[in-house]
């Protein structure tokens, strides 16, 4: 009974006795037995060429973000360094792309390429952190509401209704602006302007959709036999939620999280565009586009390149998100045909 499955399989399947044949049937048997749904999903995703391209683009952006200081070193220009004489025209306008400034300069004579590279850091960091926060809050509340039902469910469901009735952007800019004037003190943490408050604002105002989706799924799962069985065996509610319910809603959560990253990136850029996100002089795509809007008649590159960077990032994440959804839930209608 201790024989490894590789050896046991051919015998059970009555495989031909010659070496080559048994080898083949072993592989065949294994590929039927040992593939988890995750592995199947991963293999479906690996065959999806468009998603792989998107993944490649994302990896490229991540690399640019990580090695932004190297790019700065390569051009010899810092993120904050202004070049009033070489980086601006005699009339004080941004310079067009050249060998010294590969993507041109911005309104303060700073190197656009270096600033776009550093901007990737903010976008990715906020995108991932805000998504993690949104998904954690939303999944936790959705699980609790869906599993326990009754009063807890009513309270959380009403909270979801309220959050969904709140105009996100208006509240977010209001909250961000209040905090920027008088920093928020949360124990040892002081939240002023910057990445933490942007993450917090996005997280607070986007968990409701996740909670609603997870809650619905949990309600459908709650009365299944295996949950009944776990309960009959004396498992505690928390144990059932973590070990029996959560794994079943995890695919939904993962799909939603992948699609939430670009949404969070856009939200951060939008807040910065409106002047309540990441404060200057930090390099950020949203505030770069806002600054560039005053110069679009003179400096197309200043507006175009940060816009393209942002667009490429959100597009890549959305394509990958669609791919992940199709891979995890192949029954759904694929958007890409």
């Amino acid at each position: 009974m201790l024989t490894p499955p590789e050896a046991a399989a051919p015998h059970e399947l009555g495989a031909p006795s010659d070496e080559r044949g048994s080898h083949l049937s072993v592989r065949g048997a294994r590929s039927i037995e040992g593939r988890s749904p995750w592995r199947l999903a991963f293999e479906r995703l690996r065959r999806d060429r468009l998603s792989l391209v998107a993944l490649g683009v994302i990896l490229l952006i991540v690399l640019v973000a990580i090695f932004a200081p190297l790019i700065a070193k390569g051009t010899g220009h810092g993120v904050y360094t202004q070049y009033p004489t070489t980086g601006l025209t005699p009339t004080g306008l941004p310079r067009a792309p050249s060998s010294a400034f590969p993507l041109g300069t911005d309104d303060l004579g700073r190197t656009l390429l270096v600033r776009i590279a550093y901007g990737a850091r903010v976008s990715l960091l906020v995108g991932v952190l805000a998504t993690l926060m949104t998904v954690t809050i939303g999944a936790a509340l959705g699980l609790v509401a869906g599993y326990f039902g009754k009063l807890v469910d009513t309270l959380i469901a009403r909270a979801v209704d309220v959050m969904l009735s709140i105009p996100f952007l208006l509240f977010a800019i209001a909250l961000a602006s209040v905090v920027s004037v008088t920093p928020l003190h949360l124990g040892p943490l002081t939240l002023g302007k910057g990445i933490p408050i942007v993450v917090l604002v996005i997280g607070i105002f986007s968990w409701a959709t996740v909670a609603r989706i997870v809650r619905g799924q949990v309600i459908a799962i709650r009365s299944r036999e295996y949950i009944e069985a776990a309960r009959a065996l004396g498992a505690s509610s928390w144990r059932i939620i973590v070990f029996d319910v959560l794994p079943n809603v995890l695919p939904t959560i993962i799909v939603y999280a992948t699609l939430l990253i670009p949404v969070s990136i856009v939200a951060e850029a939008a807040l910065s565009y409106l002047g309540v996100g990441i404060p200057p002089p930090t390099a950020d795509w949203g505030s770069m586009i806002a600054d560039a809007q005053s110069y679009y008649q003179q400096a197309w590159w200043f507006l175009t390149f940060p816009s393209l960077a942002l667009l490429m990032t959100t597009l890549a994440f959305n394509i990958l998100g669609d791919g992940v959804r199709d891979a995890i839930d192949p029954r759904g209608t694929p958007f890409k045909s």
Binding site: D161, P167, L170, S177, V179, T182, T333
Partner: protein, 321 residues
């Protein structure tokens, strides 16, 4: 039907009450009332001025007095006065509403039409060349942040056209409909396109998947088997069922847009509700921000009730829940 509506209305009122609580917490308790007064008084104001401002705005009173006053005034349709010119917030909001509504009224039919037509075509001819193009475009626009699309449209359709002698659209500004309907229309084309193209992408995707589901239903096959024309099957039988999720989304989107045109208004310099909110934030004019947030939330609540009521009207099963 009446009980259903009454219950929906009660829920709406509850939601609005919670919105006021959240607004109140954020603005009155969150940053600290002393700070609000000091911020308003200005950098070098003497303590007596700060105290005077705090007193005038009830900031020195306990929170329940402040909240009671806030709700009392709200129930009387009074949103307070702005900090700088003592203008009633209701007047300021009333000035912004026509502009925001103009935006929504023009953009909504465009995105609904584009989204539903492309989505339907895609569902009827899956994997065709046009389907692939539509879904690719939808994904691209879906991924485009509103302000990026807005500034790119200004760059291409306003600036590039204008410098080449084709001045089709102005780059920014608003002309009231009553003043000059043609200029009103001309000035709003680019903002409408900005809002509509981004939103249409969602509707293309939604219509395509909803329609594909419905076209696979038994009753559609029955309709075809009865020998009905394809046009009749698609438009009369399938579309009606497929429209339900689309109309839900539409109701919610229109409601949300009252507070959600912030970016478009900012890009095109249209002084609607969102633009006013952003500029009040720059000046820390809290009553105006609160007023706009409350009006915008109310729009979402009303839109939700209307959508639910329409459902209950169309589908009697909804009333039971």
């Amino acid at each position: 039907m009446l009980t259903f509506l009454a219950r929906r209305l009660a829920l709406g009122i509850l939601v609005m009450w919670l919105v006021t609580v959240i607004v109140f917490i954020i603005f009155y308790i969150g940053p600290g009332s002393a700070d609000v007064a000091r911020a308003l008084a200005g950098r070098d104001a003497p303590p007596s001025t700060v105290a005077l401002i705090a007193r005038r705005l009830l900031l020195d009173r306990p929170w329940y007095v402040q909240y009671g006053h806030f709700i009392w005034e709200l129930l009387h349709g009074n949103l307070g006065f702005d900090y700088y010119h003592d203008e009633p917030v209701t007047t300021i909001v009333a000035q912004g509403i026509p502009i925001t509504l103009s935006l929504i009224v023009g953009a909504a039919p465009i995105w609904l039409l584009i989204g539903v037509l492309t989505g339907m075509y895609s569902a009827r001819h899956p994997r065709s060349f046009l389907d692939r193009s539509f879904t690719t475009f939808a994904l691209a626009f879906y991924s485009t942040p509103t302000f990026v699309l807005g500034v790119l449209l200004i760059l291409l359709l306003y600036y590039q056209l204008t410098i080449h002698g084709i001045a089709l659209f102005p780059g920014s500004g608003f002309t009231p409909l009553t003043q000059n309907p043609f200029e009103w229309f001309r000035g709003l084309v680019l903002p409408w396109l900005t809002l509509a193209l981004v939103a249409a992408a969602t509707y293309t995707r939604l219509t395509r998947s909803s329609m594909l589901d419905v076209l696979g239903e038994d009753y559609v096959r029955t309709a075809r088997a009865k020998g009905l024309s394809e046009r009749r099957v698609v438009w009369r039988h399938a579309l009606r069922a497929a429209l339900t999720p689309i109309l839900t989304q539409f109701g919610i989107d229109v409601g949300t847009l009252v507070g959600g045109t912030v970016i478009t208004e900012q890009v095109f310099g249209l002084p609607g509700l969102g633009w006013t909110a952003v500029h009040s934030i720059e000046q820390q004019d809290l009553p105006v921000i609160i007023g706009i947030v409350i009006v915008a939330s109310a729009a979402v609540v009303v839109a939700n009730i209307v959508v639910d009521a329409l459902y209950a009207f169309v589908d009697p099963r909804v009333r039971l829940h």
